[in-house]
């Protein structure tokens, strides 16, 4: 049936070997190589393309080198002095220049480092602080819901009170959120200790015991379904 295009003197014995012998193992090698490459890509993406790798450690240079370890750690200021409305709003307010000036019009009033603040206070232009913690637009995170119910700043923002320059301490990925939302008893603390970033439970067991008590008494039911954060 296909004979019409085969030359009359055709014979398999007349042909030279098209493929050398080593080519017999090529398919196997290819499969192994592709599997390895695939595994490496998957492993790579799993590790590198996550907030844990991409976000944690992000420490941009800010227009004013505000030192949290000085203000909070040494001077003992409360978070809410500057981050007003954190207990009333979904946003934690970044302080206006006016807030800084309420002290710095007296203390270090002529410091070069504070020049952008003074300029902003005089001109009305905002200070362009570089955003570090950034949830995506489709996530409706609410600060007030956390800090009023025993979730401390430290859980998401790390030991801010020890940071000279603020960096991204925790991944803030969905898995990170769910870790706590699924097991709040491991993290929850007395409401008056929320802004006390140095507070530590006595032991793991003590935390668990206290946490379970709070979860029961306060009816802590962190949302685990989509509508909790996505609308």
């Amino acid at each position: 049936m296909i004979g019409w295009f085969v030359p009359k003197d055709f014979s398999f014995y007349n042909m030279a070997n098209i493929f050398p012998k080593w080519s017999n193992t090529v398919p196997l090698k290819l499969v192994v190589a592709l599997t390895l490459i695939g595994a490496a890509v998957v492993a790579g993406i799993t590790y590198y393309a996550t907030p844990k790798y991409l976000r944690v450690g992000y420490e941009p240079v800010q227009p004013v080198a505000f030192d949290h370890s000085l203000h909070v750690g040494q001077l003992g200021m409360d978070c809410r002095y500057c981050h007003t409305y954190v207990d009333r709003s979904e946003h934690s307010n970044v302080p206006s220049s006016g807030t800084c000036m309420s002290c710095h019009s007296v203390i270090k009033a002529n410091s070069d480092k504070l020049k952008p603040i003074r300029d902003s206070y005089a001109s009305g232009e905002p200070v362009p602080w570089v955003r570090i913690h950034d949830t995506p637009d489709y996530v409706y995170f609410n600060h007030a819901a956390q800090v009023n119910r025993g979730v401390s700043c430290v859980h998401c923002h790390g030991q801010i009170n020890e940071m000279e320059e603020v960096y991204h301490a925790e991944p803030l990925s969905m898995a990170f959120c769910l870790e706590c939302h699924r097991n709040p008893e491991h993290f929850i603390r007395p409401v008056d200790k929320v802004t006390d970033l140095t507070w530590k439970p006595e032991s793991k067991e003590a935390q668990l015991e206290m946490g379970e008590q709070f979860v029961h008494d306060w009816k802590i039911t962190p949302p685990e379904s989509c509508s909790g954060c996505h609308r």
């Binding site: 590790y47 941009p60 009333r88 637009d137 609410n142 509508s227 996505h230």
Partner: protein, 1127 residues
């Protein structure tokens, strides 16, 4: 492997300017915005396509190359936080602020509470402080926030000579005019304004007249509603306004009045009327009111009526005369008057029994009965309505007459005469749009050119602005100070929420400068403050602040007056006019001209929400139509081809011709005298036979992008203009019209193709008497009356048990567990829903729902999360008789049903989603995770209610005619429109499914608020009534109730205990959380044509057999064969 990123310090070249603006001045300060503002054309319109594409490709190539080399695209974008320099007091980022205000209108202001996000108004809600509306608003008010951000609104003032004017120069036009006319005492100056209830404006007009006594101040409203007051003024010699108290009325007769939807004050009337229809259980059924409606158009009021009589609008005077004669003879009124009335009524063909029985019923309930005449009807009808109400002992009970302040304004006709006589050399046109909407017999366009210098103050650069010498841009009411009164006179503020986005001037400022108020006193705030001080009798700042906070001034309503009109006056009035009804026929039609549900009188022509929301009755979006009765359609040979069914062949015939979901309307020519108007004909069951109904507000020649139909190569307006038929003497009715059918066909976007329920038990109805005998009639209808109980042995358990335990019942699958302590659900009362559409637009406003344009609606891709289903029933049995199947109902009953996602507990959409994008949350909501959705649309396919909507295109991002270009299409002008978006709701992109979320953002806000308050206590449950969904909030009749169904004490749980509570398609065992209360009708059995059962019920019984034999068993026979056995 963790790395600490050390990015370089920001250089001066980095753009650190505001990416987001927080106040309009900031926006105005942005140089890019300025350039954009000054561009003559929107970007791209003036650029040659070809070059554009080349540059694009070049740039793309280059950037791909660079991306490959440097991986520069992988760098995380740097974002900034820009806090206030000095934090304003009470401005909490992330927390919305609410201001009391009101929407101005000709006769009444609608009290509002406006939600703002960082000084950006996003959502309009009704002000519950005004008890009359109870927080209800209408679609127009809801949509007015979109007008604020209309990219086509006028941005600059301009004059023909000097070009663009600054705000100061525009103000100068008014100041200079005042100065120039002081020596002439105002002679030669004329002003045409819209009607207004603002005391400040009235005060300024009085001042203007004092300083310039010869000035003509004229007011014009195309939808005239001044007749009730005019009639009483003629009778009583003082300005009185009738106010109806329908909550106290047991019997209501409406004469061509659409008091639930379009009459002034309709929000209060609808609300009060619904109070007499709120029935929880059959034991209360006896208190239900009864509505008789006589009307030519099929209005929403007619839809609510227990007895509806079709009669031409031109026959209303004669009808009113006969009805008044009946009533007066019962009360022993003056024989002379009765004789006169009877004479006036001769020539009207009407069922005498209808008149007698209706009158008898009204008379039997005197003191609790009322006659309501439509505001468009002639004065004599209002005089007769007054006489009838007196006869019914209604004054002081179901109707009161309040004393109005005097006004001194001329009519547009007077002004036209003055212009014609050459007496006017400067004309100010404040608002309105007379070139488009003035009575056709005045020929305003020509008149305006004779009026010397014309200064036009307006919101859009419209028809009137084109030929004006000076155009002055107006501010939106959300940007300006003002005040006004509601129908009953309650004094309400208009507060600015935001600084004017563009260089506008408010109306009060314009009038103040015309009146020569000193410049420093002519700021909006000062003007309103002065009026407030006078009205409230105090200059106390606290009192003023309280007024602004509450939004109403207590005890400021108009005083009730005693009318005491001698019956002889009424006789004289009634006798003096020609009231005889002329015979109508196919060649002598009457044209009833009504405001449009979309554009009102044309003012909302560029408002996409209103244009796209379907008209509740004819379901048309984006167009108006020549609505004709089935009788006329038959005579014209316009009936649709029958629907061909393959097997059963038992579908009712469509009224209109459809082709794959698109209405194919024949263009007809209407002619009155020499005026000819062409428009597509739509057959509307329920119209008076020879009344043609036309709605205003379409066919605008100079309008924005929304009002222009961009689908065709030559842009043309949506719809057709009806104003050629509007005359000064008769603005809402034209007689002696002829109609001619042409061969042209026009495609219309109709969102509901089919009109019949085909006998199914979707909307369940009963008559009051029947309901009293069979309280559980809803359980005996529908397939679930035959199927085994879906909850199995738990069928009789409480709702609370069912929503928390989710018993498996008859389900083949394991049921989910909902762990939340509060479980959300909804109840919709079909007995009070009027079908007004307000919920549709409120939902659109709250949930960032895009409009899609006429082309996409034609393809069935509208995005509304709530749709309002409308069904006609005529009680005929399509099963038996082919002849009946071919009939279009001439006089049907109509029923409405708002349908949104029902949040089924066992949701069929969830089981088919391959990516778990739609799942349940712990509180029983069926939620959509947009990020997971890959757009298979299986869920929409599997939804029995068809409430899921798919984003076929980037509707939010692109203009309607750029959709098909995909990512290459030009993005739309979002600079202003995106400011309206609710920041608490995701703006969805192409390829994503969406649907009603029960306003999950409001639920979450309330839950978080409660937890914020609870702190370390267990007080976490949200109190009942805290969460109002957008549709519930807007509803003027409170038909929608939302809340926690796991708590037996909540309002929604109480509603669900009603014996009329039923699930639509309940037999599917999907357990919807939204359930309905069945509709009731309250006919008077003595009336001719009174039905033992509502017509939809008759159709159901015809198809499925008797539902209410009584007894325990819902004895409905499902097979058609047994249904036939009954007949």
């Amino acid at each position: 492997m963790k790395r600490i990123f050390k990015h370089p310090k920001p250089t001066d070249n980095d753009v650190v300017g505001p990416n987001y603006w927080r106040s309009p001045d900031e926006l105005a300060g942005d140089p890019r915005f300025d350039t954009w503002l000054h561009q003559e054309f929107p970007s791209g319109a003036a650029v040659a396509e070809e070059g554009d594409r080349r540059t694009f490709l070049k740039l793309m190539g280059a950037s791909f190359g660079l991306a490959g080399l440097g991986l520069s695209g992988c760098r995380m974008p740097k974002k900034y936080i820009l806090p206030y320099s000095k934090q304003p007091e009470n401005m909490i980022p992330g927390v919305s602020t609410y201001y009391a205000s009101s929407q101005p209108g000709a006769k009444e202001h609608i009290p509002l509470v406006v939600e703002t996000h960082q000084a950006r108004p996003t959502k309009i809600e009704g002000n519950p402080s005004y008890a009359g509306f109870g927080g209800g608003t209408n679609g127009y008010a809801q949509a007015s926030v979109l007008d604020l951000y209309d990219p086509d609104r006028a941005r600059k003032s301009a004059s023909k000579q000097a070009g663009t004017l600054s705000r100061g120069a525009a103000l100068d036009e008014f100041i200079a005019a005042h100065k120039a006319y002081v020596p002439k005492q105002g002679k030669g100056l004329a002003i045409l304004a819209e009607a207004s209830s603002s005391p400040t404006r009235a005060r300024l007009v009085a001042e203007l007249k004092k300083k310039l006594p010869q000035t003509i101040w004229a007011e014009y409203e195309p939808v005239d509603s001044s007749n009730p007051e005019a009639a009483l003024a003629a009778l009583a010699g003082k300005r009185l306004r009738p106010l109806y108290h329908l909550d106290r009325a047991k019997r209501i007769l409406s004469l061509d009045a659409d008091f639930v939807a379009t009459e002034p004050g309709h929000l209060k009337y609808a609300r009060d009327f619904a109070k007499g229809r709120k029935i929880l259980n059959s034991s209360e059924a006896g208190k239900m009111n009864r509505l008789y409606a006589v009307e030519s158009n099929f209005t929403l009021t007619g839809g609510m009526a227990d007895h509806r009589l079709r009669a031409a609008t031109s026959h209303m005077p004669a009808f009113a005369a006969l009805m008044a004669a009946e009533l007066l003879s019962m009360t022993g009124g003056s024989q002379e008057l009765i004789a006169v009335l009877k004479k006036q009524g001769t020539g009207l063909k009407v069922d005498q029994k209808w008149l007698t029985e209706c009158a008898r019923d009204l008379y039997k309930n005197r003191g609790e009965a009322v006659v309501f005449a439509g505001a468009h009807l002639p004065l004599e009808v209002h005089a007769l309505a007054y006489a009838m109400n007196q006869a019914l002992d209604a004054e002081g009970k179901t109707v009161t007459y309040v004393q109005l302040p005097d006004v001194d304004s001329a009519s547009i006709t007077t002004l036209a005469e003055a212009i014609e006589a050459g007496q006017i050399d400067q004309l100010f046109v404040l608002g309105g749009n007379p070139v488009y909407n003035a009575p056709a017999d005045l020929d305003w366009a020509a008149l305006q050119s004779k009026a010397g210098k014309v200064v036009r103050w307006g919101y859009h650069e419209d028809e009137t602005a084109v030929d004006a010498d000076v155009f002055v841009a107006a501010t939106h009411y959300l940007e300006s100070w003002g005040d006004g009164r509601t129908m009953d006179g309650v004094y309400v503020p208009v507060q600015p929420m935001i600084l004017p986005l563009f260089d506008g001037i408010s109306e009060l400022e314009a009038v103040a400068h015309l009146a020569g108020v000193a410049f420093e006193d002519a700021q909006g705030y000062d003007l309103v403050r002065a009026t407030f001080n006078a009205i409230a009798g105090t200059a106390d700042q606290l009192a003023f602040d309280r007024w602004l906070t509450e939004g109403v001034l207590p005890e400021s309503e108009f005083k009730v007056a005693v009318t005491a009109i001698a019956p002889a006056n009424v006789v004289k009035f009634a006798a003096g006019q020609a009231m005889a009804a002329q015979v109508l026929s196919k060649d002598r039609l009457e044209l009833r001209i009504v405001p449009s549900y979309h554009t009102y009188d044309g003012r909302y022509n560029n408002n996409g929400w209103l244009m796209e929301a379907p008209d509740p009755l004819n379901k048309l979006s984006w167009d108006n139509a020549v609505c004709i009765s089935p009788q006329l359609a038959e005579e014209l040979g316009l009936l649709a081809n029958p629907i061909k069914m393959d097997r059963d062949g038992n579908l009712r015939m469509n009224a209109n011709q459809f082709d794959t979901g698109r209405e194919q309307a024949k263009i007809v020519e209407l002619q009155v005298g020499d005026t000819v108007v062409k428009g597509p004909a739509h057959i509307q069951p329920g119209l008076a036979d020879y009344t043609v109904v036309l709605s205003l507000g379409f066919g605008r020649t100079v309008t924005g992008r929304i009002g222009t139909d961009s689908r065709r190569p030559e842009a043309r307006p949506h719809g057709f203009d009806v104003y050629p038929f509007v005359t000064a003497a008769s603005p809402s009715l034209a007689l002696n019209a002829q109609i001619k059918v042409t061969d042209e066909v026009y495609e219309m976007a109709n969102t509901q193709e089919h009109w019949s329920m085909e006998g199914r038990a979707i909307i369940r109805e009963a008559n009051v008497e029947d309901y009293e005998k069979h309280p559980k009639f809803v359980d005996k209808m529908g397939m679930e009356s035959h199927s085994p109980p879906i909850y199995g042995k738990h069928q009789d358990k409480s709702d609370q048990f069912k929503v928390t335990e989710i018993p498996r019942g008859g389900s083949a699958y394991e049921t989910p567990e909902f762990t939340g302590e509060q479980q959300w659900g909804m109840s919709i009362d079909l007995n009070t829903c009027t079908g007004c559409n307000a919920c549709v637009i409120a939902c659109q406003s709250e949930n960032n729902i895009p409009i899609v344009g006429k082309d996409q609606v034609l393809r069935g891709r509208e995005m509304h999360w709530i749709r309002l289903d409308r069904y006609y029933s005529d009680g005929l049995n399509p099963q038996d008789n082919k002849e009946e199947r071919m009939q279009i109902p001439h006089d049907p009953q109509v029923s409405f049903m708002g349908v949104a996602c029902m949040h089924c507990e066992l949701a069929p959409c969830e089981s088919v989603c391959p990516v778990n994008a739609t799942v349940h949350d712990q509180d029983g909501l069926n939620v959509m995770a947009y990020n997971r959705c890959v757009g298979t649309r299986y869920c929409a396919n599997n939804c029995p209610y068809k409430v899921r909507r798919f984003n076929f295109f980037d509707y939010n991002k692109r203009d309607q005619n750029e959709l098909y270009k995909g990512p290459l299409g030009e993005k739309n002008d979002v600079t202003t429109t995106q400011m309206q978006k609710n920041p608490d709701v995701t703006v969805r992109m192409r390829g994503v499914m969406e649907k009603c979320t029960y306003c999950v953002q409001r639920i979450q806000e309330a839950k978080i608020d409660q937890r914020t308050k609870a702190k370390d206590s267990a007080n976490v449950n949200v109190k009942d009534g805290t969460i109002k969904t957008a549709c519930q909030q807007v509803c003027p009749v409170d038909a929608i109730v939302f809340g926690d169904v796991a708590d037996a004490a909540t309002e929604v749980s109480r509603m669900k205990t009603s014996d009329r509570d039923y699930s639509v398609l309940g037999y599917l065992n999907i357990r919807p959380r939204t359930t309905y209360l069945a509709k009731l009708r309250n006919p008077n059995m003595a009336m001719p044509g009174a039905q033992q059962m509502p017509l939809s019920r008759v159709e159901y019984e015809n198809r499925y057999g008797h539902a209410s034999h009584g007894g325990d068993h819902g004895d409905a026979h499902a097979s058609p064969s047994s249904a036939k056995a009954h007949h």
